[in-house]
């Protein structure tokens, strides 16, 4: 399973755009990239998933370059409520019983 590397922590201010980059040099052909968000005392929550290029939903955008060795989660105009831990995962979602590995995540702190 591909290992991911992302910053341990990031700080931002309300209204700014936040970009969290994840490195996954050993990504396999069938692997997808998935991001989760976790608030204190809650389970993680799915944010976005992609395979290549760009994916956008109502919460975030995910940018994946052609070589797929990294990806960037972009949160537009963050608010205090976006303070959370963000996890980048890489895995073959179509593999029966496929596993995803959660790393340590990036702790995002949004300040007023």
């Amino acid at each position: 399973l591909a290992k991911t590397t992302q910053p341990i922590s990031m700080d931002s201010y309300e209204g700014q755009e936040v970009n969290i980059t994840c490195s996954h040099n050993n990504i396999a052909t069938n692997d997808y990239i998935t991001w989760y968000q976790q608030f204190p005392s809650q389970g993680p929550r799915f944010i976005i998933q992609g395979y290549k290029t760009k994916v956008t939903n109502e919460v975030a955008s995910l940018f994946i370059p052609a070589d797929r060795k990294s990806s960037t989660l972009s949160l537009p105009r963050v608010s205090l409520s976006d303070t959370a831990v963000y996890y980048c995962l890489v895995g073959d979602v179509n593999n029966q019983g496929g596993k995803l590995i959660f790393g340590q995540g990036t702790e995002l702190s949004v300040k007023p």
Binding site: T34, Q42, G43, R45, Y87, G97, K99
Partner: protein, 112 residues
Amino acid sequence: DVKVTQSSRYLVKRTGEKVFLECVQDMDHENMFWYRQDPGLGLRLIYFSYDVKMKEKGDIPEGYSVSREKKERFSLILESASTNQTSMYLCASETLGAGEQYFGPGTRLTVT
């Protein structure tokens, strides 16, 4: 909305006790997972199941067993609880091929 429920939010057990953690999902998902989460270590997969009576070991299965007798229910068993199993335990489920795991609220287990 998908709902994943866990039998307890908080649990205190003594060393050597047998502990059962129950997880139920209401969306007919094939895959179910048990993780533990510890500060500085992120989420680590203990066991997962992709069908009734099927199970596979995750990254840290030692000291744990699981049971999946019905599709909606996945139980984690600590045969003889030890203090190093004090942790937050999270259950998740997903539809095969979706890559989007739905998490329960977690059970904070303390073993004294």
